[in-house]
């Protein structure tokens, strides 16, 4: 395909965060991809899990103006005893209620945008990359979930001399993985747990592919930072940490390991999605 066609590719992105200091070198612009194969119970970006547009509904901001009820064709939005009731089962995410909502109680998570459109935003931040040695980090969700779009975006960044990183859970087939690997300057690779049953119980997916990918990754000469989010009572004990560190150490010497800390900043987003935060410890 010609380059220009690549740049007209659409990806489903739920945020572009224009100031990040903790996701790779320098000051970075973070592109959040929608869709993730994992369902980690503590996920702080739950709106990134589903590969499809979603409506975030904040009942506290709703002023019960009835605007959404008037435009809703499916009956998903209705007014019962002066209270707005939003039934997700009936909703087809047509987005009409978002256009009409004045208070910002409803927002759309996920926009289909082209590589060029993402590049326009990134280009605005270039001046901040220069002194800091920063660049672009693809995160999510999971960038490997939309591999073609991710590859096109990485290619375009490279063509424009912008440093790139991908932040991944590692759960993807190797072919996809290696495609992105070629095009990125840095991989931030998450490891949750060494024990497969625990991993499956808490994230909904096996870690065999993940660890296998990491193994293969180490055989390349790519710059890798392993990231471990320390989740209380899941992997934050000394033994669990050591297991991960030993595993990594057995594959490649002197790998940079970054610890991230558990937080609950994403808690309110479960409410906006009509879901429930289930991780308890």
């Amino acid at each position: 395909m010609a380059e220009s066609d690549q740049n007209k590719k659409y990806g489903l992105i739920f945020d572009i965060q224009r100031f990040s200091v903790h996701d790779g070198p320098g000051i970075r612009t973070l592109v959040f991809f929608k869709g993730c194969p994992l369902r980690c119970q503590w996920c702080s970006n739950p709106e990134g899990q589903l590969m499809g547009q979603q409506i975030l509904y904040n009942s506290r901001r709703c002023i019960a103006c009835n605007g959404c009820v008037a435009v809703c064709h499916t009956g998903a939005s209705s007014m019962i005893n002066g209270t707005m009731v939003y039934d997700r089962k009936k909703c087809i995410v047509c987005g009409k209620c978002i256009e009409i909502c004045p208070s910002g109680a409803r927002t759309l998570s996920g926009k289909w945008i082209t590589v060029d459109e993402v590049m326009d935003v990134i280009e605005k931040d270039r001046v901040f990359f220069r002194h800091s040695g920063g660049g672009v980090t693809l995160g999510g969700g999971e960038p490997t979930y939309q591999p073609e779009f991710a590859a096109a975006l990485l290619t375009e960044c490279r063509r424009n001399n912008i440093h790139t990183a991908i932040e991944t859970c590692g759960y993807a087939d190797w072919k996809t993985f290696s495609l992105l690997l070629e095009k990125t300057d840095l991989v931030l690779f998450d490891i949750k747990h060494i024990d497969d049953s625990k991993q499956r119980q808490y994230t909904g997916a096996s870690n065999r592919i993940i660890l296998d990918n990491l193994d293969k990754l180490f055989k390349s000469n790519k710059k890798i930072i392993v990231r471990i989010t320390l989740i209380p009572h899941f992997n934050d004990s000394k033994e669990e940490k050591e297991k991960i560190v030993n595993f990594v150490g057995s594959k490649r010497k002197n790998v940079e390991i970054e610890y991230l800390y558990y937080h609950k900043y994403g808690l309110h987003k479960y409410e906006l999605l009509g879901g429930r935060y289930i991780y308890r410890y």
Binding site: R18, F19, H22, G67, P102, V127, F128, H131, S132, G133
Partner: protein
């Protein structure tokens, strides 16, 4: 891992002495001291009929002879301008009118009002109202200005004196106070000494050819300077004697030695230029007390490039092994304590504009020298260290940034920022030098710039800057443009009659009406300021201050009469982001989308969105907002800013003063917000305007700190010679590690490249601020950045506290 502020846990590495001194400075509450009022009044009563210059000099002399002086335990740097730490002097010659109005007012009295509350001892109010004020009423600058100006100018040009107090022009500061806002030639003071400058005045006065008519004015000027300096030398001797006396009664041998050294140093500098670092600091501080508090009472008498002019003394002492680095730091810390123990008494209105008792003594380090080479030196670092250690209100530490600034100085500065006290602030050399060159200042002088007060640029040592002269409420100007000059709140006509909504057929008509309102406000500001300048010169010249501003001694003319080499007046616009947002909203909903007619929109705004919350939210959420790197609205901000600046820069004052535009808000965005009706951006009536000056309206930025910086650098900073101000709040989590700090340093460098001028940071979580509101005693030392200055959070009035809490926090998780 739940960092809310680094400030509270910071273990500073200071000596026990400094610990005691800083502790006392933090715990002492401001009070009113009437000594100056008494002495000045006694002298003026006895000098009637004499020349104003001579009267001022005699009053200073009488004050210096009769004021009480003290030396507190543990002090290494001594001197005072009031009877105790954090005493605010009263200057009735400037302030009699407002004191008369407010002293017994149940809501506005300095001991009753919510902002900048002072302790007033029993009997003091009666003393002032019976013994002092009656003499001055009718003799102040305010009296004369009100007497001479037409009623409409007062009504539309002095917010606090008009019948309708919502007018967009606020020139109160110099109407009711001295002038301050200056960086004198400290280098000259330290090189010549008090005796040397006095000798210079005597010599010139002796040699004047009095057959030449204009020399007679000069003779009067130099005579006043000589009276002042002789009195100053005697005053310093008083400290020498006091120290000696204390030493004789001191049982602690070590302290006695210190007191003897203080005594000797004071004697020495009363008769010679200082030789050692210690003497230089002491002489410098005496000058500071005279400049603020004794001769006049307005703030922002700024130290300027302290690391440059003090360095020779430091270097010399270190080379001669008579000073260690540790001793130097302790001395600087002792000096900073003394600066923080000065206090200011504003009138009710000014106290809400400049909330927080800040003296805004801007001390700036780093930057280039006159030849363009980086001039950072060891002292620059020590000053940062001392400020970090003491954690006090003063000085207002600032760092100059340029392409050759060593990374280490920015790194050290950022480590101080991390503590969350809002200090230091950063100034970008590239923009600053272009801004200052926009007037007729040479490149060498421009490179030697420093900052007065919050963000106001001036050359060093040769400028009467008057930077805090007038604030103009730009959001109010837009309000007036929407309905033929009528105030939404008071329903009265207080602006030009620029047309009712039906007359404004398209967007350009609105912009035109707005510009006319701005021009009218600026014109009123200029008229009022010209009157103020005229009467400041006629009534209360400042011979001591003038002797230290280059140009005055050469011309033999007081600075209030235009003696300085450069003379400016700062007229500062407030609320530019609100205007840009609101114009964008009108443009979009009325003229592009045609969703509503202008007259209906105006009716909704006048009713403060009553029953129209939906529409308000739509405006607030769905119209482009300044601060998000969106050209639709940023271009409007740029154009409005340019217009405002060009309008101000067109005027000249009575002594050749050039009017200089600024775009910053101090804390005036809060009181200005109170008198501004609902705005089309979706802001409700009475809510604060955007803080900072070019910071986005609270809660309107959605694209993080980079979006804010991009928008802010689209403002044509170069035109705003009186300064622009950008506040950023960062989450403490963004500054956890050294690596994080390095990234924020790079952010500042990028800001420099983009043409930004000033930036400062608050790094503190709201949770801590809420706790401080609930338990003020425990959080007395908690400091935050208000505007171009920092203040103790618990000493701010509740509205300003809320304004700070509402500012958006930027952080990556």
């Amino acid at each position: 891992m739940n960092i809310q502020t680094y400030q509270l846990d910071y273990a500073c590495n200071v000596t026990e002495r400094v610990n005691t001194l800083t502790d006392r400075a933090i715990k002492t509450k401001p009070f009113i001291c009437t000594e100056r009022a008494r002495c000045i009044t006694e002298s003026y009563r006895n000098s009637e009929g004499k020349d104003p210059l001579i009267r001022k000099a005699l009053a200073l002399k009488h004050l210096l002879e009769n004021m009480s002086i003290y030396i507190n335990e543990d002090e290494l740097i001594v001197g005072n301008n009031s009877s105790g730490p954090r005493g605010s002097v009263v200057a009735p010659e400037y302030s009699a009118n407002w004191l008369n109005r407010e002293l017994f007012d149940p809501l506005k009295a300095p001991d009753k009002r919510p902002q900048d509350t002072h302790i007033i001892l029993d009997g003091m109010k009666d003393f002032l109202s019976k013994e002092i004020l009656p003499y001055w009423l009718g003799k102040t600058v305010e009296d004369r200005v009100v007497d001479i100006l037409p009623e409409t100018v007062i009504e539309h040009g002095v917010a606090s004196l008009g019948e309708v107090n919502t007018t967009p022009v606020a020139p109160e500061v110099y109407l009711r106070n001295g002038i301050g806002h200056v960086i004198v030639d400290y280098e000259k003071l330290l090189t010549c000494g008090f005796n040397g400058i006095c000798f210079q005045a005597e010599k010139i006065a002796d040699e004047l050819d009095l057959t030449i008519p204009e020399n007679f004015r000069k003779k009067i000027f130099f005579t006043s300077v000589i009276i002042a300096y002789k009195a100053v030398q005697k005053w310093i001797e008083r400290y020498a004697n006091l120290a000696k006396e204390k030493a004789e009664h001191c049982k602690d041998e070590k302290r006695a030695e210190e007191l003897i050294r203080i005594s000797k140093d004071c004697i020495f500098i009363s008769q010679n230029p200082p030789e050692t670092f210690r003497q230089a600091l002491q002489a410098w501080f005496f000058a500071q007390l005279l400049l603020f508090g004794l001769e006049q009472n307005c703030t922002a008498v700024s130290p300027g490039r302290f690391d440059q002019y003090m360095y020779p003394f430091y270097k010399n002492d270190i080379q001669n092994n008579i000073l260690t680095k540790e001793e130097a730091v302790e001395l600087i810390e002792c000096l900073f304590v003394k600066l923080s123990e000065m206090s200011i008494l504003w009138d009710f209105d000014s106290a809400s504009y400049w909330s927080g008792f800040s003296m805004t003594l801007c001390l700036i380090v780093g930057g280039v020298d006159e030849d363009g080479n980086d001039a950072t030196n060891e002292l620059s670092y020590l000053l940062i260290e001392a400020d970090k250690n003491t954690g006090l209100l003063q000085p207002e530490l600032a760092v100059r940034v340029n392409n050759c600034s060593p990374r280490s100085i920015l790194f050290e500065a950022m480590k101080e920022v991390r503590l969350g006290r809002g200090k230091p602030k950063f100034f970008m050399d590239n923009a600053a030098i272009s801004m200052i060159r926009n007037t007729d200042i040479s490149l060498k002088e421009a490179r030697n710039y420093a900052v007065v007060g919050c963000v106001e640029l001036t050359p060093s040592g040769n400028t009467a800057a008057y930077t805090g002269a007038v604030f103009i409420n730009l959001a109010k100007c837009l309000e007036l443009a929407l309905d033929d000059g009528r105030c939404f709140i008071k329903n009265k006509y207080i602006g030009l009659r620029t047309g009712i909504p039906d007359d404004l057929k398209n967007y350009d008509d609105i912009v035109y009406a707005f510009k006319q309102q701005v021009s009218y406000a600026v014109k009123n500001a200029v008229i009022v300021m010209n009157a103020i300048l005229e009467y400041q010169a006629k009534l209360y010249p400042c011979p001591f201050t003038s002797s230290l501003i280059n140009g005055c001694m050469e011309k033999g003319r007081d600075f209030t009469e235009g003696g300085a080499q450069y003379n400016f007046v700062g007229i500062t616009g407030v609320g530019l982001p609100n205007v840009a947002n609101s114009l964008a909203a009108v443009k979009k909903v009325v003229y592009e989308e045609k969703k509503i007619e202008l007259k209906d929109l105006v009716t909704i705004l006048q009713a403060n969105f009553d029953h129209n919350e939906e529409f308000r939210l739509e405006l607030w959420n769905n119209i482009p907002k300044y601060g998000n790197d969106d050209d639709y609205v940023d271009a409007i901000a740029r154009e409005v800013g340019q217009f405002y600046c060009q309008e101000v820069a067109g005027f000249k004052g009575p002594f050749g003063n050039r009017f200089r535009p600024g775009l910053f808000a101090v804390s005036i965005n809060v009181p200005f917000g109170l008198v501004t009706g609902a705005t089309a951006e979706g802001r409700k009536s009475g809510q604060p305007l955007a803080d900072g000056g070019i910071s986005p309206a609270a809660g309107s930025e959605k694209h993080g700190v980079l979006g804010v910086i991009k928008s802010a650098t689209k403002i044509d900073n170069v035109l705003a010679g009186n300064g622009t101000l950008l506040n950023i709040r960062l989450s403490p989590s963004v500054l956890e590690t050294d690596e994080d700090i390095a990234k924020i340093v790079d952010l500042i460098r990028s800001y420099h490249d983009l043409g930004g001028y000033h930036i400062q940071f608050n790094v503190i979580d709201n949770e801590v601020l809420r706790k401080a509101q609930k338990d003020p005693e425990r959080y007395r030392g908690l400091m935050v950045r208000v505007a171009g200055y920092s203040a103790y959070f618990v000493e701010l009035n509740p509205e300003v506290q809320e304004d700070i809490i509402s500012r958006t926090i930027h952080g990556g998780i």
